[in-house]
């Protein structure tokens, strides 16, 4: 029914072993090149190279074909449209651009695990760490992964309930309960995070420690601050009750 298996398969091809930043630079470079260059020979060469790179990562056949099918349809329509207008070189150039970049992007997707890609993105976000500490990004990513099946479950349950009442064609009977249940779930999750002190002190922990209060002005804290605990990915099943 709902498949969350991406394109990635653990293998030992050269592209699997290449570092993520190299692959992203390659994608950026090839994208700029294909857009800047409109020479037919170069276009065919780059397209062939990208398709070979995609093949070299030994991707799962069915999922790859599904991923490429959309692009190939678009490229075919574009080609037909340009041929119709009589612009043969431009047709080749545009179709080549579309297919080569899609093939390269699929090659990267099929050779990079999600963890590696998320690590790379977290590294890219390092300059933002005063606003967005890396731990917070980690917490948000793992909570999102946890809430995808939860949101899908809420939506599915709302549809089953609507069908039981004979309202399965009534969009309001599905969307109103599922949306408000989703917000309620989020607020409960927020309370659970707050109770555990997760991500509450993301910035405070990085900041310089507060100077000790002096004199009679010092006000003793009424309540102890919640304990700072390490964010454990995959932990939020405790907080969904």
């Amino acid at each position: 029914m709902i498949s969350l298996l991406g394109l990635y398969r653990p293998r030992r091809t050269p592209l699997h072993r290449a570092p993520v930043w190299f692959k992203m630079l390659l994608l950026l470079g090839i994208s700029i090149t294909t857009i800047a260059v409109s020479d037919p020979v170069t276009t065919i060469g780059i397209t062939a190279a990208c398709l070979l790179l995609l093949a070299s990562t030994l991707p799962p056949l069915k999922a790859t074909l599904k991923g490429m099918a959309f692009i190939i349809v678009i490229a075919a329509l574009t080609t037909l449209f340009q041929l119709w207008r009589g612009e043969y070189v431009r047709a080749l150039d545009l179709a080549g651009d579309l297919i080569s970049i899609a093939a390269l992007a699929l090659a990267i997707t099929s050779s990079t695990s999600m963890g590696a890609m998320l690590d790379f993105i977290t590294t890219l976000a390092t300059p933002l760490k005063w606003i967005l500490p890396p731990e917070t990004i980690g917490v948000m990513v793992s909570l999102t992964l946890r809430s995808i099946p939860e949101a899908a479950r809420i939506l599915t349950e709302a549809r089953v309930a609507a069908r039981a009442r004979g309202l399965d064609r009534d969009v309001r009977a599905i969307l109103f309960p599922s949306a408000s249940r989703t917000v309620g779930f989020a607020l409960q999750l927020g309370q659970a995070l707050h109770a555990r002190g997760i991500a509450e002190h993301g910035r405070a922990a990085k900041a310089t420690p507060r100077p000790a209060p002096q004199g009679d002005d010092a006000v003793a804290p009424v309540l102890p601050s919640p304990p700072v605990r390490e964010a454990v990915p995959g932990d939020p099943e405790n907080s969904t009750s």
């Binding site: 449209f81 999600m114 948000m140 949101a151 309001r172 949306a179 989020a186 509450e200 910035r203």
Partner: protein, 227 residues
Amino acid sequence: MAQHRGLAGQSIALIAVFAGLIAASTLVPEITLVGGVPLTLQTFAIVLSGLVLGAWRALAAVTLYLILGFAGLPIFANGAAGLAVLTGPTGGYLIGFMLAAVVLGASASALARAGILARRGVAAAALIGVGLLSLPAVYMVGVPWLAWRTGMTIMPVGCSGLTDPDCVSAVTVGVIPFLVGDLIKVVLAGLVAATIHRAYPGLLGSARAVVAASCDGAEDKAAAATA
């Protein structure tokens, strides 16, 4: 804690759950409307995030959804995944989603500060009106991107008939077929967002405005929320 408010637990949970909702909305089978018209929920979920969360949290939720998709989770429309979607001809729509989230979130926060969201009847109309801003926001980025990647012109120029090549443009291919569905989704999202703001006041803006507005109406807020 005031300066950490943007990252407090509640915000983080809302961001993560709405990113999960956007992702899940592409995974569940589409809803069949009366007449057998299928309705996918992705645009609905994006518009709803903007209207419910406010600018920054909605931007974070949409960005988180996009990042997970780029990292390889098959959560884009039609089960697509990875960077190929961004670099493809429809990648502009994804960037447009981020713009739409910010625009809608900022406008919805302004409505909340003005106390409009606490008034029944007005709230839904105002939220639908704000939600309509999402169409230009998404298409403003998506259509030129589509035109650029497929070599079409943006607007049909000198169009004379169905067989005229000049009629094929990014607007006729990428906007007009989806316009009615998008309008339906925006209206639904506005109605749902109004319900959510009634059930959970204080999600946006200050709770004081909510209380003040509801006191003006001399109406029990809890009764209104559950009515």
